[in-house]
């Protein structure tokens, strides 16, 4: 009956989650989640099977869904005090593509926080937005209505919007879903630039294979945190098994069996 060790929470961590439980409907979806992001800027991946609560974790941190218990702090401060320093790139399905906005309009929205209520968008903001579009390689498509862009380009527009927010901490929900390998590499390049500029980026990621090469830290989530830490330390088969369960080992065994038969 060893006591459950609760990690020490640092007041300088960009994201600090204490004992968070989230319950929709009748059943809890996240249970007793504890996590501290490292103080220096990192690329952090959240991985886990479907239904594990990855998107819910982000939404609960941002106050988009209510928490049953627990605290979230950003460098020791609550959400409302630091809203302008947090960026969010949601999943792509929730967007209305027929809306009459151009790529540039969407990126400009990232700057609205700085403008506040009622002030119109100035030339300065449009120029800044154009720069962000340029960083993701879409400067020439600035005037296109968003439905006219391809899937990968749409994802990049939302990334540019995140850049325009000039936030210190970013949450991104499956930013690589449905984009081809080349775009994925290019987006990662932008994320690494952002990290060099001193920003922490937390990404819900679906592709286990690319985690070790692309991210610095990983959180294994399956309704509760299985493990978390630097990729080199925690990304091993034991944790994978504990998070994904039998299936992963079954696949691994099948692969083994095939390899064995081919060797014969």
């Amino acid at each position: 009956m060893s006591p459950i060790q609760r990690p020490e929470h640092s007041t300088n961590s960009p994201l600090s989650i204490h004992a968070m439980t989230v319950a929709y409907d009748r059943k809890p979806v996240l249970w007793d989640v504890d996590y501290d992001a490292p103080e220096d800027p990192q690329l952090i991946a959240i991985v886990g099977p479907n239904g594990a609560g990855k998107s819910t974790l982000i939404k609960a941190c941002l106050g988009l869904v209510p928490r049953a218990s627990g605290l979230v702090a950003f460098r020791g401060k609550p959400l409302d005090a630091v809203r302008s320093t947090i960026g969010y790139v949601p999943q792509r399905e929730s967007v209305d593509w027929e809306f009459p906005v151009t790529a540039l309009d969407v990126v400009c929205m990232g700057r609205y926080r700085k403008l506040g209520w009622f002030r119109p968008v100035r030339k300065k903001d449009r120029d800044a937005a154009l720069l962000c579009l340029d960083r993701v390689g879409l400067a020439d498509l600035a005037d296109r209505q968003i439905r006219q862009l391809s899937g990968g380009q749409q994802q990049r527009v939302f990334l540019a919007r995140a850049l325009a927010q000039e936030a210190d901490l970013y949450f991104m929900d499956e930013p690589f879903a449905g984009v081809d390998a080349a775009t994925e590499q290019a987006i990662l390049g932008v994320l690494r630039e952002m990290k060099r500029e001193g920003r922490t980026i937390i990404v819900v990621h679906h592709d286990l294979q690319t985690v070790p090469s692309s991210f610095d830290e990983v959180i294994f989530l399956n309704m509760r945190v299985v493990d978390s830490g630097p990729v080199a330390d925690v990304f091993h088969e034991d944790n994978l098994r504990k998070t994904y369960g039998g299936r992963l080992t079954m696949l691994a065994e099948a692969a083994e069996a095939v390899a064995r038969s081919e060797r014969r």
């Binding site: 060893s2 609760r6 439980t21 809890p28 007793d32 099977p49």
Partner: protein
Amino acid sequence: MDDPVNFWLDFWNVLTLQSGYNATLVILGTTSLGFASGIVGTFAVLRRRALMADALGHATLPGVVGGFLISLIFGATGPEILPLLVGGACSGFLGIWAVQCLVRHPRVREDAAIGLVLSTFFGLGIVLLSVVQTSVSTQTAGLDSYIYGQASSMTRVDVLTLAGISVLVGLISILLRNPFGQVCFDADFAATTGWSVDRIDLLMMGLVAVVCVVGIPAVGLMLVVAFLIVPCAAGRLWSTRLFDVLMISGLIGGISGWFGAALSSSLPNLPTGPVIVLVAGAIFLLSLFLAPRRGIISSQWSAYRRNQRIAEDHALEHFIDHEDSVSTDGLIKLFSVRGWSARKINRLMRRLQAKHFVEFSSSVWSLTPTGRSRGLTIQRNHRLWTQYLISHADVAANHVDWSVDQVEHVLSEDLVAQLEDQLQLGSTP
């Protein structure tokens, strides 16, 4: 009301069908309409097409006037129900078809399409109506009663037609509840299992349209959609099984029809349609609050209790994990990690004390034997869930319920035994 006693007497008489032929007829008509609308409306709401019925209702107006004009050509001397109904049905169907066509365009959304059709068809009806009223010499008084309805002027034939069609529609819907239900719930799946979704949809909406059209002379086109929506909204609060919801909605619709007609005929000057809708609305509000499990009172209470239980479980676990006895200050420090205020901790400990899980003596809180065994059970449950999440990671999320009393309440005994073995053998989670 001049004379309350008279009113109650009148009301009782009408309610128990003792107030004469006309009143009884009206009640028969509205009750059967309510019954059929409740049932058919359930499918419309489940299929998310309830507001299309609104478009249908409003779109019947030009057809009603057109039917009247045509009947004049054939020598009618005043508004007769059949040509009006047929004309109304035609333009109503035309309206629905128009909505379907509009929706196919990428720049037109379904809600906008419904609003467009509803208003433009109605506008056309208004124009035609005004032409007819000012230019045609024959009696047109009955025409605009189609807008607000006039149940009390229905003849015997009207009522019998209404009742007959309503009962028929209700029975057909009940008989076909399986295919209808499948298509409402998951049309794609239904298609893969061989049902012809298009035909079923057509039949379903056709029944809705029939109920609308026959209901219009009684309650008016503005309110006929209410009959489809309100009883079903109330019915869904009482059950989740399709058959039960159908029956309850039909019952509520019928009761509203009965009571509402009785009420409106006992009170002077009140049109039948709106009164029935209000009765249905009252039943809905009552259901909203009082229904077991889905009603507001019940669900808020059970959410409150659940959150309390979760907090108690967390607290007991803390006790087991750390010391078995803690001072009050130690307690606050222990629980602070959860973000609980001192007041909340206080109330929590009192509750645990009331349940004899903890006791407070010499300024120290400690677990009682009952509390200790409960805490150990909770710990065991959580370990089992954790193990389940590991061994069945891909399906676990649907079943895991940290707040349940015993894991055995959710998982089978065999599975639990299996998990326990794994816990013993495997590495500590």
